[in-house]
Symmetry: C2
Subunit: 274 residues, 2 copies
């Protein structure tokens, strides 16, 4: 990694340059690789990255998929992150969080060992579990309202102070950092809540999973969630990685990313970013 800081103005500049809000999720799974790559996960990732470099602002390797391959998977994860380089935000989608001395070790793993720029963090254990991830020039991306059905189980429970749990978590955790180092995960499956969160947090970037395979509406989420700096990282994983299972998989990934970027364009024009 070079010394280029992937800070907030880097993100807005990158959105302008690529005319994209896209984050490509690297949830690579052996069983879905095209036969043409002959089971070589790293080659597959490199081909996807090369095909989408100009189409996206961020990459988000999903740690579970690499851990499922054991030690070799961790090595592929390291090599994939190195290959991305320093021209994109690299998000460790790891959903970590533990007591202070343990979160410090996770931060060491993700930021120093692997060279990621950002990490998704689970806030359930509270402030002292999240603090160790606030390191200079790094982003902490706090799970607020996730895209899955289970987001209704606890995240949307009402507290005695009238707030929903995810709102309380956003209100409290926003005080741990600033819009320059903190983002929130908000699922594309909750557009009206995203709109309310944008009003409450006008300056924060939101990481939006749940378009594509999970069914969230991309136009609705752009309407609801963008701000003057762009303000959204919209993730797509399976719809890009597995756009084709033939030898044209990389070109198909590029086409799918371009198709999404065409959908972003009027929204970026609306705010004058392109």
């Amino acid at each position: 990694m070079s010394d280029t800081t992937r800070n907030k103005s880097f993100l807005t500049e990158k959105i302008r340059e690529t005319q994209s809000l896209l984050c490509v999720g690297l949830d690579t799974v052996m069983s879905r690789l095209p036969s043409s790559v002959q089971g070589d996960v790293l080659s597959f990732n490199k081909a996807i990255i090369d095909a989408t470099r100009e189409d996206c602002i961020a990459y988000k390797p999903n740690f579970a998929f690499y851990e499922a391959m054991g030690t070799e998977g961790w090595s592929i994860l390291e090599a994939t992150i190195r290959y991305i380089g320093d021209q994109h935000l690299i998000i460790a989608d790891a959903k970590r969080g533990d007591i202070g001395n343990t979160s410090r070790m996770y931060a060491e793993a993700v930021f120093h060992r692997l060279g990621c720029d950002a990490i998704t963090v689970n806030p359930y254990m509270g402030e002292d579990c999240v603090r160790p991830f606030y390191l200079d020039g790094k982003w902490v991306i706090i799970l607020a309202l996730t895209s899955n059905a289970g987001s209704h189980d606890f995240q949307k429970q009402t507290l005695s102070n009238g707030q929903l749990l995810y709102q309380e978590i956003m209100n409290v955790s926003a005080t741990w950092g600033s819009a320059e180092d903190t983002m929130f995960v908000l699922g594309a499956t909750h557009p009206s809540e995203v709109e309310a969160c944008r009003k409450a947090f006008p300056d924060h970037f939101f990481l939006i999973p749940g378009v594509g395979a999970q069914g969230g509406d991309l136009n609705a989420i752009c309407e609801a969630g963008m701000n003057q700096q762009g303000g959204l990282l919209i993730n797509a994983s399976r719809s890009i990685l597995y756009a084709s299972d033939g030898p044209d998989f990389a070109e198909a990934a590029h086409q799918e990313a371009s198709r999404m970027n065409q959908q972003f364009k009027p929204h970026l024009q609306r705010i004058g970013l392109v």
Copy 2:
């Protein structure tokens, strides 16, 4: 791993045999290794395991500490788990949890690749994120009320139904499995809450971190939390691993484990287990 199931009756039998409730946390950090092991984390772990095999019922490798060492760390984690064998419960202290297709990959990593018997899971994302960890013969250990100061930030918030969040999480998640496959994490720093949880959940095992370095009172927690089957796995990490920084570190670890076991003894006698 052999086919021996580390089920609930295995645990109670193991408690009887070892006269112990101890889980040894393998939070091994390079900078605290005795100079006599010359930076060899795996040798250190093996020596600790050999010295404490007869003194404990479970081992709990803390994944953060191995991830902080990169690919080599993952390899040491694999070898450590293999070395423990099948006579103890092996808990992956990984605090994982993500949408279904991702939790399935974490379960693959921890249960199939690494051969652990149990995993600590963060319930914030709800039922569909926890379900994939329920595999035959495996334990799901759900974070309820953790030992750290941040447990007050969200876990102890009152919901509009009058329950505290961690109580609601226990009530709801207890319906996802049974006392045969589900445990809860309850911090030793909250003895009165542990007592109330024991009344509400008479049959579940609780994993108790927070004695030793974190200051929880071992006697108070045994009084509050045991049931007729034992019912507690009491974790100690740093106080055992680093009982001595000299070449006698393994013997010192055994001595520290024995000292804790002496404290368990009257409680095990009280319930007639020894």
